[in-house]
Structures are given as structure tokens and as C-alpha cells.
């Protein structure tokens, strides 16, 4: 199991369920297969499993309804978050002065901006987690393909600079206006690297975690599981609504009267932050069940 081929086979086998993965690798070792044959064997099984999974309608729904639209949307939101954060990071990190703390007005601004930044980042991470969760729940066995496609859409949109191409859409055109903040975006770090870091930390990592939870929940045969995907779908609808409202505001158009009562930033974060509560509850429940098993043993 030490050659590169075997390592590749072990990595490819991670796309199989745990029990099957172990049995398959064990069979290949026992049969004395070469590393190349083992890799081909595992890839063949993964391809067959994927073909089976894609016979169902749900992965297709996830692909059309979640993978592409959410991959693009989250990348664009991530780009906006990165640009917004970059301006204040530059201000407070690159141009730090004790006056920011000593002066009561500056201190107030600092606290308020840091809180807003944390809230923005947390909200984006929770949206990404929710998108990954819904994708994992709907795709189930097809998650390797849908997950890779989602990550590719997110990465390609960011790397190829799709926000620039999408500047023809008024909603996304203003975020690229670097004019007033040219000092910030003249730095390569804030213009190129920082958006990628935000994308990796607040979109890719949370969405992969969400996918894992979604797949795990889809495998449970209990009825309460319907509540969680419902919450995920409601959140995704809220993300769409939020983006739409933001688009109206960007265009300087009035919001529809019904949406005037749209909750404030903190309440929105609480609503969108249900993944944190879910993850905490899930971790506690797993810990409790391990503890019970240990006591039983």
C-alpha cells in the first residue's frame, strides 16, 4: 500500500461508502493486484456507483437547481464580502494607529465595523454550509460529482474573474468600483489573494462540511430529518430574496412594501446561522452516543 498507485486507489476509494471501501481495498490487497490494476478497479467501481446514483432524479435537481446557481451566487457574494472586508482590513491593519483605540469616536467605529465584518463573514459561511448541506442531502450517492462540480464552479468563477464578466448585470457592477479605494486594491494581496482566501475559508470549507452533514442525514431513516432540509431550503430561498433586495438597493429602486419589514442584520444572521446550532447539536448528540457506547461496553 505504499506505492503512488495504491495511494491513489486509497484516495479514489474515499468516494465509496466506508464499509465497501474497506472490503474492496482488502480484496485488492489479498488478490495481490498491481497498484495500477487496483486503481483501475476502484475507479471502475466508483464509476458504476456514480452511474447508479445518477439514475435517480434528485442528483439532477441538485445539479441544475443548486450546484451551478449557488456556486456562482456564493462566489459573487464572497467577492463582495472580500472587497468590503479588504477596505477595513487595510484601514485598521496597514494603517494602524493607537488613536483608533484612544479616541472614543474612532473606538466606536472600530467596534461597530469589526462586529459587522464578523457578522458578514459568519453569514457567508452559514450560507455556504447550507448550500453544501442541501446539495449533500439531495445528491446523496452522487455527491462526489456534484461536490466536485460545485467546487469547480466556485473556483472557476473566482479564478477566471467572472464578477468582471458579470459586470454587465447592474447588481454586480458596483462591487468592482475600486476608484474611491484604489489605495487598497493597488495592493496585490487585497486585489488577488484576499478574495481567494475568503472564498476558500468562507465558501469551500463550510460547503464541504455541509455536504458531509447532508449526506449523513440523508442516510438516516428517521422522519425528523425532513425538518432540517426544509430549514435548508427556506434558508436558500431567503438567500435568493436577500440578494434580490440587495440588487434593488444597488440599483436605487424602492423595495416592495412587504419587504420593508425584512429583519435587521442581527436577526438575519440568527436565521441564517441555524447551521451553527445544527452542527453543535449534532456534535453533542454524537459525543453522547459514543459516551453511551463506551459505558455499555
Amino acid at each position: 500500500m505504499s506505492s503512488i498507485g495504491w495511494q491513489a486507489a486509497a484516495v479514489a476509494s474515499r468516494m465509496l461508502p466506508v464499509a465497501e471501501r474497506e472490503a474492496v481495498l482488502g480484496d485488492l490487497i489479498e488478490a495481490g493486484e498491481s497498484s495500477g490494476a487496483a486503481l483501475l478497479g476502484v475507479l471502475g467501481l466508483v464509476a458504476r456507483r456514480q452511474a447508479e446514483a445518477w439514475m435517480d432524479w434528485r442528483p439532477w435537481l441538485a445539479l441544475a437547481g443548486l450546484t451551478f446557481p449557488l456556486g456562482m451566487l456564493l462566489t459573487l457574494v464572497s467577492r463582495r464580502t472580500a472587497e468590503f472586508s479588504a477596505i477595513y482590513l487595510w484601514l485598521y491593519v496597514n494603517n494602524w494607529t493607537p488613536a483608533f483605540i484612544e479616541n472614543p469616536s474612532f473606538r466606536h467605529d472600530l467596534v461597530s465595523i469589526v462586529a459587522t465584518l464578523i457578522l458578514e463573514c459568519l453569514t457567508l459561511a452559514c450560507w455556504s454550509w447550507t448550500a453544501g448541506f442541501a446539495l449533500g442531502f439531495l445528491s446523496s450517492g452522487a455527491i462526489p460529482v456534484n461536490g466536485i462540480l460545485f467546487s469547480l464552479v466556485a473556483a472557476l468563477v473566482e479564478v477566471l474573474g467572472a464578477p468582471k464578466y458579470l459586470a454587465i448585470v447592474p447588481l454586480f457592477s458596483r462591487g468592482r468600483d475600486f476608484g474611491p479605494n484604489a489605495a487598497v486594491f493597488s495592493l496585490t494581496f487585497y486585489r488577488v489573494l484576499f478574495p481567494l482566501l475568503i472564498q476558500a475559508a468562507l465558501v469551500l470549507l463550510p460547503s464541504v462540511s455541509g455536504m458531509r452533514h447532508g449526506v449523513r442525514l440523508a442516510a438516516l431513516p428517521v422522519s425528523p430529518r425532513a425538518i432540517v432540509p426544509t430549514a435548508a431550503i427556506a434558508t436558500l430561498a431567503a438567500i435568493g430574496l436577500q440578494t434580490w433586495i440587495f440588487g434593488l438597493r444597488t440599483l436605487g429602486l424602492p423595495r416592495p412594501p412587504l419587504l420593508d419589514a425584512w429583519p435587521n442584520q442581527l436577526l438575519k444572521a440568527v436565521i441564517f446561522g441555524w447551521p451553527i446550532v445544527y452542527c453543535a447539536a449534532s456534535a453533542l448528540s454524537r459525543r453522547k452516543s459514543i459516551h453511551l457506547k463506551e459505558n455499555h461496553a
Binding site: 500500500m1 464499509a19 465497501e20 474497506e22 472490503a23 474492496v24 481495498l25 482488502g26 480484496d27 485488492l28 490487497i29 489479498e30 488478490a31 478497479g41 476502484v42 471502475g44 467501481l45 464509476a47 458504476r48 456507483r49 447508479e52
Partner: protein
């Protein structure tokens, strides 16, 4: 009605008895039927047979020659044995009087 490969797998598992598991079934098919059996074909067919209720599988012991990994053990159920019997009967009946059945000695292996 079983497929040809399903029948081969049921027969191999039945022949192996208590020691029927993935690698052993694969080796048995390759040796007796003289055809290559990929790990992908093996595991997807095992799943299909299990979903039809023709076999029962469970995770067995882990051995050092498997790198400490468990085996997927297989047992043919009564329903599976009946399906294999029906398939064998149909193949036997449909083969009666055909050239390769009447001149079996002339057929190359």
C-alpha cells in the same frame, strides 16, 4: 430471471459455502468460468443480488493478508438458490438438442 453473471456469482458463492466473500468469489469465477471479473462488476452485482433477496451479506473478520481490512461475507438465501435452480433448468432445457450440447466433445474449451 437471473442474468448470466448473477448466476455465475450465485454458483461461486454456493460452492464456496462458509468462506464466500468478495475476493474468493472473484477468484472462483475467474478460475472456473475462465473470464475476468472486475471488482466493480463484483460489488455492483452483489448489491443487486442482495436487493433482490438472493444473497445476504455482512462484514466479516479482518486478516493481516488483507492489510487488516474486513471481508464482505456472502451467503446464498433459499430464494437465491431457487432462482439459480430455475436459471439452470431454463439453460438446460433451452440447450437440449442444439449442436454444442449434442456434440459437446467437439466444442473447444
Amino acid at each position: 430471471m437471473l442474468g448470466e453473471f448473477e448466476y455465475l456469482m450465485l454458483s461461486a458463492a454456493a460452492r464456496l459455502g462458509d468462506v464466500a466473500y468478495g475476493a474468493a468469489i472473484r477468484q472462483e469465477i475467474e478460475e472456473t468460468a475462465g473470464r475476468k471479473c472486475s471488482i466493480g462488476a463484483l460489488y455492483t452485482t452483489l448489491d443487486r443480488l442482495e436487493s433482490k433477496g438472493f444473497i445476504k451479506t455482512w462484514m466479516g473478520e479482518a486478516t493481516p493478508q488483507r492489510g487488516g481490512r474486513p471481508k464482505r461475507m456472502v451467503r446464498v438465501t433459499a430464494k437465491g438458490a431457487q432462482a439459480a435452480r430455475d436459471f439452470y433448468g431454463a439453460v438446460t432445457r433451452v440447450s437440449r438438442g442444439v449442436s454444442w450440447e449434442t456434440n459437446r466433445g467437439m466444442v473447444r474449451p
